[in-house]
Symmetry: C2
DNA sequence: ACCAATCTTGACTTTAAAGTACAGATTACT
DNA sequence: AGTAATCTGTACTTTAAAGTCAAGATTGGT
């Protein structure tokens, strides 16, 4: 259970854009310089973010990227799903069916419900957090998280 | 954020062994047949489980694997950490430092505390679950999970 | 002693993710 | 019009994970 590079770097790029300020736009080279990523790689990440409707792009000499919505309307859960998929998603059992066609996993599949429980814990953390929250300081965010009483 | 094949299949093999019953042993080919995995792959997985002290092996003609501890003393969180690492572990920032030596990630690194929050939510789900719980039926386990009131 | 069944280990091959390259399209500026 | 800066898309190369192979070591049965 690991975070993919795409999730980590993609989210960083988005946060960088958000921190540029309301309506401000950044170019791919600017983001790349700020995050120490290659231009080509940032381009790939921004494309995914654009397809997920998190950012808008403008072409041409004065082009660049801006947020497609206000930070408070960008749930981090959605961003991460676009960048790296979900832990437990439809087709999971087909993907891990071993050498057989169907998931032979017997034992009443307690494992599957374990994954669902984990996914749901992750969802309730991410579900309550938007890009706006990430823009605030670490301490502030921690307090917010601590105030949630259910997972 | 995905489950690795090693986590999924490794946990299945362990559960399979546990469901064989107290002190029962299974061979690699037996596990492979039951889980529809190749013998070589099961061998690789069992090795990891052995190194994590979750199972014990006996060599020779009547050899095989048994649980190294009682199911209630095998926390699923530990098993998954052995099979696939943790979401957020030491060295994380070195791993994702882009093209520079040090993690340039500024913005006060709100992202890092996000990962910590997610990791902690996952931990509290997994922390309360042992192999014994997985051996019980899905419905029973769900109830247990639902009764937890904090993540 | 020998054989057959097992686990053990490291190296290898295959496959998917990470990251790059390049040719094309769009726009502003002169 | 021409040029330079940008985004876009596909194809490519590199790297890490998934999965296999083969030779060796251990043990019980004959």
């Amino acid at each position: 259970m690991k975070l993919s590079a795409q999730e980590e770097y993609g989210l960083r790029c988005l946060l960088r854009l958000a921190s540029a300020g309301e309506g401000q736009s950044l170019t791919i080279p600017e983001i790349g310089r700020a995050e120490a990523l290659s231009i080509a790689y940032v381009a790939k990440l921004m494309r995914i973010l654009r397809q997920g409707k998190f950012v808008k792009s403008v072409r041409g000499q004065t082009g660049g990227y801006t947020l497609a919505r206000n930070p408070e309307n960008i749930p981090i859960g959605e961003v991460l799903a676009a960048l790296g998929g979900r832990l437990f998603e439809p087709g999971f059992c087909d993907q891990f069916s071993g050498l057989k066609r169907l998931c032979t996993h017997s034992v009443d599949c307690s494992i599957r419900s374990l994954w669902r429980a984990v996914q749901s814990a992750v969802d309730s953390v991410l579900g309550g957090i938007t890009l706006r929250d990430l823009l605030q300081k670490e301490s502030t965010m921690k307090m917010q998280l601590a105030s949630r009483d259910r997972y």
